[in-house]
Every structure is written in structure tokens, then in C-alpha cells.
Homo-oligomer: 312 residues x 2
Amino acid sequence: MALPRQVELVEVGPREGFQFEGIGAPDKLATADKIRLIDMLAATGAKTLQIVSFVSPKQVPQMADAEAICAGIAPHEGVRYQAIYLNDKGLERALAQTGLDIDGKITLTTSETFALRNQKRTLTQDEAMARRIAELYVAHGIRVNYGMLMAAFGCNDEGPIPLPRVLELVAKLHEISESTGGALETLNLADTMGRADPELIRQVVGAVRARWPGLRIALHLHDTRGLAIANAYAGLLEGVDLFDSAVGGLGGCPFAGHKGAAGNVCTEELVFLCDRLGIATGVDLDAMVACARFAERMVGHALPSKLVTAAR
Amino acid sequence: MALPRQVELVEVGPREGFQFEGIGAPDKLATADKIRLIDMLAATGAKTLQIVSFVSPKQVPQMADAEAICAGIAPHEGVRYQAIYLNDKGLERALAQTGLDIDGKITLTTSETFALRNQKRTLTQDEAMARRIAELYVAHGIRVNYGMLMAAFGCNDEGPIPLPRVLELVAKLHEISESTGGALETLNLADTMGRADPELIRQVVGAVRARWPGLRIALHLHDTRGLAIANAYAGLLEGVDLFDSAVGGLGGCPFAGHKGAAGNVCTEELVFLCDRLGIATGVDLDAMVACARFAERMVGHALPSKLVTAAR
């Protein structure tokens, strides 16, 4: 396949970073700084920002200010502000905000071990929750058109995930969407624990595309084992044109099962890669590097981004 | 091209790391620790170790113990110990050691700005030095069969290097080798300042291979802008089966023109990538991760390797 001519990036650094950096220190990052980072990111040319998660303040106290963040940002024209949630309660909180873009996203997970840890549900309960969330969307006039599959490329506990299992779950995402009168338009394959490699990316993306040629594929790539940017390149080689990425390489999954979980693929490095390959992202690299520098000052330590160091 | 079935790694972490970590603090790393790291690396399955550079102790005081390191290591059967040098004086010092493998390597550079900073020579002087070194090899019965091209993928000061210029310098490396009765067997394309991208790697490697089909191509990839592992994957896609890499991602070029120069592509991440792709390296991943942990304790800070963190 030819490389895509343009790529859309979903900036997940705020949500990933606020969640991860606050582990054990929920007040480490000031709400005002979080808002400032989001406002800076909105001015980089990034068109979609994932800014908070609506999750249990008991489990994730560092996200207790999610509503305050939503209320505090200065909406930037042309920018979509999004959130994540793991259950109907979280979705209700998201729906209560003004200015959030709720995109009809349902999520399944390949690994029961991970689902129990991250969502506190068995896979059966998890599927039931996806169906409940889908109904809630419909009740609010939102089409169920976006599926996400967590741990699509392997699990720290369960190891490799067989391709037929991945395809079965993608089929289920389609079925849930269609059961509500919707149709899946986008599928996000998440390498939640950073276990993918470039050839696995090509194999899984290729197999999904062969079966559902009209489906737009997105990748969510953690850099846990250092391969995220190579995996992103592999995605580009397969024509993938939608990526989650995190400024500075912020983030990490608090429930991935080891302490060193790295964040998502670094936005400025992905922008740099796309710039070099002649792929338009709409993001201004210098402005994104400035955001990464601010994020480093916020969290009080160097972030994984190499580019932010090189650019100094 | 098909992926190679096996890949040879040259572990450059000691030379890169000792050189870079000692900038401004030549006594920071104890000679005994340097020797211990080399001895640990020799037991990982890595077959070639680049352990020191013979350079001016005035310019690079942290390498003043190069001879002591060579004398102190415990030679491991089947492991080749190598060194680098930038001029005839350095080569004479290397030749005076017992147990070093001197491989008939000559080096040219694409960028005069970089040559002036790193080698303290104009390009004309640099070429003359390559010829002098070639003659010195011949005088010691060493065939001139290995060429290296520094800044082959761009320069921080001079920007992109046109492909015809790269090919012209590779032709010159051939000519120097042949003028001594040798023949170039291996060409190392060095991304000295971490400016390559995966498509540029494929373009340059492809063009060199098209013109010199019998030449074995090696890559030396710095991770300055975060793309090293993607560039390595691009090299594998072009069939490259010889890579320099640095345990933990150690190193950086002291003369690259900015402080944040990252080290070489991280050995354990490259081994992990190869393991995943079914490419044999002969290196034991756990043993290499243990070396990276020891290197982190030596230098007193976290190294760029993500895998070493994930593996904890």
C-alpha cells in the first residue's frame, strides 16, 4: 500500500498523562496547569484532544477534577475535545459536560485478566457494559460508529492474542453497533501494553482490512518496549491514517501490570516522522515541542520524547 | 525484499557510553566498572564489542584509560573486541594493543562542518587521513575492506545530503580500498546526528545496493529524534543484516552540535524487535537487559531504553 497523504492525530497526552503522573500523588498536577496544557495543545493544529477520563475518583483520584478541567478550558475553534469513560456512570458524567465531543465509541478487550484489572469486569460483564453504553448513546441521539479493541496485540498476562480472536471481537463490535441501528466506521486497535511489533501490526491491520474493507483503522500504540514509532511506521505502510499519540510521550496505563508502562507514541516524534515522509498532520512541530517542554515542567521530570531534547 | 533470517549486532555501547557520559566529568566512570560492563556484554552472545576509542586525551579525557580497559578485560572466546580512532596516531595506539580486532575500516564524512568539529579536519584533510590510515593497515598486513560514511543521512548544520553526494563518497571509499589492493566488502552508513527517517533509509540503502550489489550494508543509527528503531525496521525491510547498537541506548556524539544527542539505537530493543520478527541475533535478551541495568547504575541515571524499564 502507498503511504497515506495525510494523517489525523488524536492527542491523548492530557488524559494519559494526568492519569499516570498522578498515581499515588493525586494533587501533584494543578488543575490550572492541566487546563493550560490543553489550551496550548489546542493551538498546535491538533484537531482532536482527549482531555480527561471520567472514572471512579476512588480508583483514580488524580482524575477527580475532570469536570473542573472541562469547565476551565478555553474552547478553540475547530478543535474537538473528547473524554474516555469505562462504564455508563462515566458516560453520564461526560454527557453532562458542555463542549465535549461524544463520539459513540464502544470498547471491548481481548484479555480477561486485563479487563478485570482495568475495568474491574469479566469479559462477559465487559460486553454487557459495551451494550449498555451503546444504548445510552442511542438514547442521547449519538450513533454508535466507533469501536475500540484493547490489548489487540497481546497482553502482559495472557501473552499473544490469536488473530481469529481479534477478528471475532471486531465482529462483535460491528454486531453491537448494528444492533443499535448504527454502523461501525472506525476501529481503534489498541496496543494497550506495548506488545506489538511492526510485522504484527501489518498482519492484524491487513487481516481486519481484508474482512472489512470500508472500515477506517486507528492505532493506539504504547511505547512500553520501545517499538511504538516502528509500529506507527508499520501502520503508515498499511495506509493507517488515524493515530492516538501523546505529547512528550506522556502517560502509561496504571493497570497494565508493571510500573514502567510507558506512554503512548510521542506526538512530536510522530509528527516529525510524518513531516519527513511528506504526510500532512496539520500539527505545527515547534508548537508541539513547546507543549512537550511545558508538560516536562509540569510533571517535574524528563519525558520519554527524544525530539524534545534534540530540539533544545 | 524479505526480512533477513539473521542479523549481526556490533555492540557499541561501551565506546559510545564511556565517551558521552564522561563529558565534563572524565573520572565519572571507574575503569573497573567499564571493564565489568564489557565483560558482562561479552557473555550475552554479542559477537562484536566496540569497547574504546583511541582519541586525543586532551579532547576526550574520559577515554584516556583506553589502554587500561584493553588490558583489563577478560577475553571471551568467540568475541571480537574492536576500537575506533580518528587518525593514524589513534590507529597506532590500537595496533599496539593485544587482543583487539582491527578490521581495516576507513571512514569518510559527508559534511565539512561536522568533520571540522569531530575530526578537526577539512574534508580534503579528512580524505587524506583516510588514505594514510589505509596505507597503515596495509603496512600491518590488514586488508582495507570496510568503509564507513558519517552523516550519511543528513547533518545538523548542513541539512539533507543529496543522494549523488552519498554515492560519490561511497565510490571514493571503494577507490581508496582498491588503491591499496583491497576491496570494500562492508559499508557502514552512519546516521551520526539522528536525521534519518525510514523512507530515507530505504532510499539510500536501495540506491547503494543497486550500484554495488555485492556490498554488505551496515547501519549505525542514532536515536536523536526518536526514529532509530523505525529506521532499523526500515533497514531490515531492505535486508540489512548488520547493525551497530548500544546497550541501554548509551551514548551520543559529543560533537554533534547539540547537547541532547541521544545514543545509538538501543541494543535490547533491537534484539526484542528481531526476536519478534523471527530474526536470529544470537543475543540473550535477558542477559542484555541485565547489562543495561548495570550500565544505568554505572552512569547514575536512567538510560533511554524503554525495554529495561518494562522488564523490571
